[in-house]
Amino acid sequence: MILDHLPALQVVVPLMAAPLIVLLRSGRAGWLIATLVSWFALAVAVMLFMRVQSVGVISYAIGNWPPPWGIEYRVDALNAFVLVLVSLIASVVLPYARTSIAAEVPADRHYLLYSMFVLCLCGLLGMAITGDVFNIFVFLEISSLSGYVLIGLGRDRRALHSAFQYLIMGTIGATFYIIGVGLLYLMTGTLNLADMTVRLAAVEETRPVRAALAFITVGLSLKIALFPLHVWLPGAYAGAPSAVVAFMAGTATKVSVYVMLRFVFGIFGVRLVLPDLHLLDMLMIFSAAAMITASLTALFQKDLKRLLAYSSVAQIGYITLGLSLANNDGVTASVAHLFNHGITKAALFMLVGGIVLRVGTCQVDALAGLARRMPVTCFGIVIAGLSLVGVPGTAGFITKWHLVLAALQDGQWWVVAVVGASSLLAAAYVWRFVEVAYMQPAPADAVTRSEAPLQMLVPACAMVAACIYFGFETSFSLGGARDAAAVLLGGLR
């Protein structure tokens, strides 16, 4: 009985927890509730994922209003995968967050932070699970507004301005999206994703539909931080509290990519997207530009968080590149990279959070000889860094390999060259950290060993271990992505 309501519980429980945390006004209780809620969300997501594997698509009519009139929650292989990713990262980051947040945010704001955290989680899960295009907008705004608050809670005053910039850019993106949805609604008279796909066939050659495609793509690209619309991202990631970045870097942009996948393949279909609009060609060029320029910029960053933020922009390029190839391997690589990059970047930001706590800064130049002081943290960063580069045996390799295969299948040799060049640049910026931490002598006052506290180190190392684990055991990441790609491309062929 309760199993039938899993799709609703996935979203409702975090939504209810947020006001509860505010009412309790206690940082510790807030953290406890947020952690339990994230574990519950993970359990629900895993159950949904398994049910989708066995019984296929799950459709849930909210309030028992049958779709397409009511809002439908629709879980298939693609969004079950995204739900697991989002709730997994939340449930690893939250146990970590307690110590990290205590050090970085004034105590009287803790309960508000945890409240916003679960609200953001709720928004992201909602975006992924819903089958209604307007509902996606509402959840997008729930996750974004709580995200602006979370970033604004950073200890540095520059975080406030970053949060404001993100608010402006994010709202423009969301408004573009809603303009596109409005045009689609005018043309089709429906807001249900599945229904819209069917009805759009009759009007797909009309100008409003093309304008809608343009608005939605640009709007979502802002949210994804696709080059050159990424300017909000480095500031936001550099300023926000470490635990918040670890969560948002692994999830927020990824869920927007999911929405883009849905629109490009699910709604507009390659029929409209491919032939004369050259949308995918443009995406490919911007993705390649992101992979090269953002990696180059990362190379010259002096702040470790900022370096990783630019690296995120580059990695988003890989994801959209796979999308733009629009073949089976490409979309599989794209979806799998959502997961693999999500865990890799979360691991890195969690470890950097430990450095911020112990050293007080994450300026690369201040970290000389850090390996002697924090050997486990540094080793973790190296391992996760290797996954970022895409060394065989790590999660990052799996997706890059499939991306290269997809490009070869398409005969796009230059894409292979770009992937190679971007990986070399990634190796160079990871090496910068290695050189400073391992090769340079530590200042005399900083040779005593002081690792980050265990509450932070254990979740971070678990995430690093996952980077290795998913480098060998690919039945979830790659298998799930393959099923997802089949869902996306299945309607087209």
């Binding site: 602006y148 520059r158 406030l160 408004t175």
Partner: protein
């Protein structure tokens, strides 16, 4: 189908472009937010105007009511208005905090201070 008969769209487009222009062109944070609000308002009109039929009534199933206006856009926009208000409120709250911390709401001045802090931090890193 003359240009005049679709004047609501012209108003929508005007508001949309004007709002977006203000966001991009103004350096004052409050003015940016005003532009953002105008931009969002244009969307309300985009949804509501086509939902109205001239001579249409509320959708009531009863005798004498044959031509209905579509009520769904109104409901959607009610939600969008709430989102817009929340965004504006949060934006203004951030501006208040920015003003407390930086003593200015002009983006150029804030960026200058932020830039100086970043450089100072980096040089601090060099010394260490």
């Amino acid at each position: 189908m003359t240009v005049g008969s679709h004047y609501s769209y012209w108003v929508t487009i005007l508001l949309m472009i004007a709002g977006l222009y203000i966001v991009v062109a103004r350096r004052n944070l409050i003015k940016k937010l005003i532009g953002l609000a105008i931009f969002q308002t244009s969307v309300y009109l985009l949804y509501i105007a086509p939902g109205k039929l001239i001579g249409g009534t509320a959708p009531i199933i009863a005798e004498g009511f044959t031509v209905y206006s579509n009520p769904l856009p109104h409901v959607l926009i009610l939600t969008a208005i709430v989102v817009g208000v929340a965004t504006l409120a949060l934006g203004l709250a951030l501006v208040v905090r920015i003003h407390e911390e930086y003593g200015s709401i002009e983006e150029d001045a804030i960026l200058e201070i932020a830039e100086r802090e970043t450089t100072a931090q980096e040089q601090g890193g060099d010394r260490a």
